[in-house]
């Protein structure tokens, strides 16, 4: 079964992860631009990070046969930081035209401040202008209120609900989102957010229509194999393979294909994994003979 991992921060993962992901059937990943664990002090750090997402990280991924895509945006935490917020907004239009950029994200609310709302709205309008879907990060604290506010702001912006993925959902938020027409994301974590067992219960109760699961793996305690692990749990719970395939492949593909930038036929083949190639003087192989790897 092919898997599209629609939210993972490979920037903070190692090559072993890529190899295990490929072995577990993950054929494509989407890496949302995010907060790096500490605030950046100038826009140049964002430029370098964005260039990494469309360059080095994509190259690294391809070496393991995994297609790499991303979304670009100003995350809500740093939307609060006046050292960078306006300057990042200025450079975003250029990056939103890159071929591997399939959406605006992850944008949204975190502490739910007026500044976060200002830049969320501005980026929703950018998504309309560049004809891209939107990946919205929802708050981890005061979540229900944050979800409702995000939905209101999407409506205010005029972005159609079917072009919006509200991420980091749980048992409470699905009651709010299922009737809105937006896509509902669930980040499966080892301990927090959502876990495989709870996700099975949600699928059994609500089905898989417009539901997307991801690992959101990053530099914290997280697991890049959470999507295949959850798929296995679903099958063991008696969920039909076609529905699991819809959940882990067709749904994320369908959502991000709204960008018009995915060649679905190309995804049926592994990405170019020419291990002889190096990038900007760096070789993942570090001088090993590729024919002997």
């Amino acid at each position: 079964m092919l898997i599209f991992e629609p939210h993972i921060h490979m920037y903070s993962r190692i090559t072993d992860d890529y190899e295990r992901m490929a072995l577990a059937g993950i054929r494509a990943v989407l890496e949302p631009a995010f907060w790096l664990g500490q605030n950046r002090t100038n826009v140049g750090s964002f430029v370098d990070y964005f260039d990494t997402l469309i360059g080095w990280e994509r190259f690294r991924s391809q070496q393991f046969g995994i297609h790499h895509f991303c979304t670009m945006g100003l995350n809500p935490r740093e939307a609060n930081d006046d050292r960078v917020n306006d300057a990042v907004m200025e450079i975003l239009p250029r990056y939103l035209e890159k071929d591997s950029v399939l959406g605006v994200g992850e944008i949204g609310l975190d502490d739910q401040t007026p500044k976060e709302e200002k830049y969320l709205l501005a980026q929703l309008l950018l998504a309309k202008k560049h004809d891209l879907p939107v990946l919205i990060h929802t708050p981890h604290r005061d979540k229900k209120k944050g979800f409702l506010r995000c939905i209101d702001m999407v409506k205010e912006s005029g972005v159609p609900m079917h072009r919006v993925l509200l991420d980091h959902g749980n048992e409470e938020t699905i009651k709010i989102t299922r009737e809105t027409g937006c896509w509902q994301g669930f980040s499966i974590y080892p301990n927090t957010k959502m876990d495989p067992h709870r996700m099975v219960q949600i699928v059994l109760e609500y089905g898989v229509e417009r539901v997307i699961i991801n690992s959101a793996a990053d530099w914290g305690v997280s697991d890049p194999l959470m999507v295949p692990r959850t798929a296995t749990r679903l099958e063991q719970a008696g969920v039909a393979r076609e529905r699991i395939e819809q959940l882990v492949w067709k749904n994320p593909l369908g959502f991000f294909a709204q960008s018009g930038r995915i060649d679905e036929a190309a995804l049926l083949r592994p990405a170019n994994s020419n291990l002889r190639e190096t990038f900007e003087g760096n070789s993942v192989l570090r001088g090993q003979d590729p024919d002997r790897v």
Partner: protein
């Protein structure tokens, strides 16, 4: 009348008006170049351009190695008279494909300090896709070498040719590369070959062809040894190299090999050796 511009416009057909519109937008706001450039594969397509060997102004290009978006990139950059600063910026913030389009376009753009800096960057980065785009299927490297710009000296040319060998790209795709042969480059290539052989790793097949144009100590022995190699390609390269070397005193070695050489094309070359 600008021949490359006209030819590219003709070849791009129905995409040319969209590119003309982009040019107008860029003229109004130069920042539009950075937004228009990434759109080229989506707007113009990635399919092969085709057309074979073609003179584009002073450049000789094999358009069979170009895609339509490469041609569109070249046209866009020519139309807007891209500056060195813009060229470097597009490369620095381009994705892998944008960089390849940009590098292929260099063949038809003026040779400047900016274009030289991109060649130097490609030499450093070690990426096959980009090295091919920059110096294969055109005579850009030979023309850039001849231009003798201050930031692109003979050692830079040598390093690029060594990278061609390091990444195993065919010499025939670097047009006029034989003009670039020199003693220092031969030393580098021969050392690389020796190092690879010592490690049991593959050697660039065109090594002998370049060495023959600027032989260094050890080259003749290497070429004669090549005539006995078990690999057909290596023997062919050695025979061709001996022909270029044009040394009558080596005829006897070729004559000794001739009756045992199974490949007719190699036998034909050995029979043409002077002596």
């Amino acid at each position: 009348m600008n021949a490359p511009l006209d030819l590219l416009r003709t070849r791009l057909g129905e995409a040319a008006p969209w590119l003309k519109d982009q040019d107008a937008e860029i003229a109004a706001d130069r920042r539009r170049l950075a937004v228009a450039f990434p759109q080229l594969p989506r707007k113009v397509a990635r399919s092969q351009l085709g057309g074979g060997l073609t003179a584009l102004g002073k450049a000789l290009c094999d358009l069979d190695g170009w895609r339509r978006c490469d041609a569109a990139a070249a046209l866009l950059l020519l139309q807007c008279k891209v500056t060195d600063a813009e060229l470097v910026d597009l490369y620095a913030h381009g994705d892998l494909e944008e960089r390849a389009m940009l590098l292929r376009s260099l063949a038809v753009l003026p040779i400047t300090a900016g274009s030289c800096s991109l060649l130097l960057e490609v030499q450093r980065t070690n990426m096959v896709l980009h090295l091919e785009a920059a110096i294969c299927d055109s005579d850009l490297l030979a023309r850039t070498s001849a231009a003798k710009l201050p930031n692109f000296g003979s050692s830079d040319v040598d390093r690029l040719m060594l990278k061609v060998a390091f990444l195993d790209l065919p010499l025939r795709r670097v047009f006029s590369a034989e003009q670039l042969a020199n003693i220092e480059l031969s030393r580098m290539l021969q050392d690389l070959a020796t190092e690879r052989e010592a490690a049991g790793r593959p050697v660039w097949r065109d090594t002998d062809r370049m060495l023959a144009r600027a032989p260094v100590p050890g080259t003749i022995a290497r070429l004669l040894g090549g005539l006995e190699h078990g690999d057909d390609g290596r023997r062919l390269a050695a025979a061709e190299a001996l022909l270029v070397l044009n040394r009558p005193e080596l005829r006897a070695f070729a004559a000794e090999r001739l009756p045992r050489e199974p490949r007719p094309e190699i036998r034909a070359i050995l029979q043409r050796l002077p002596g």
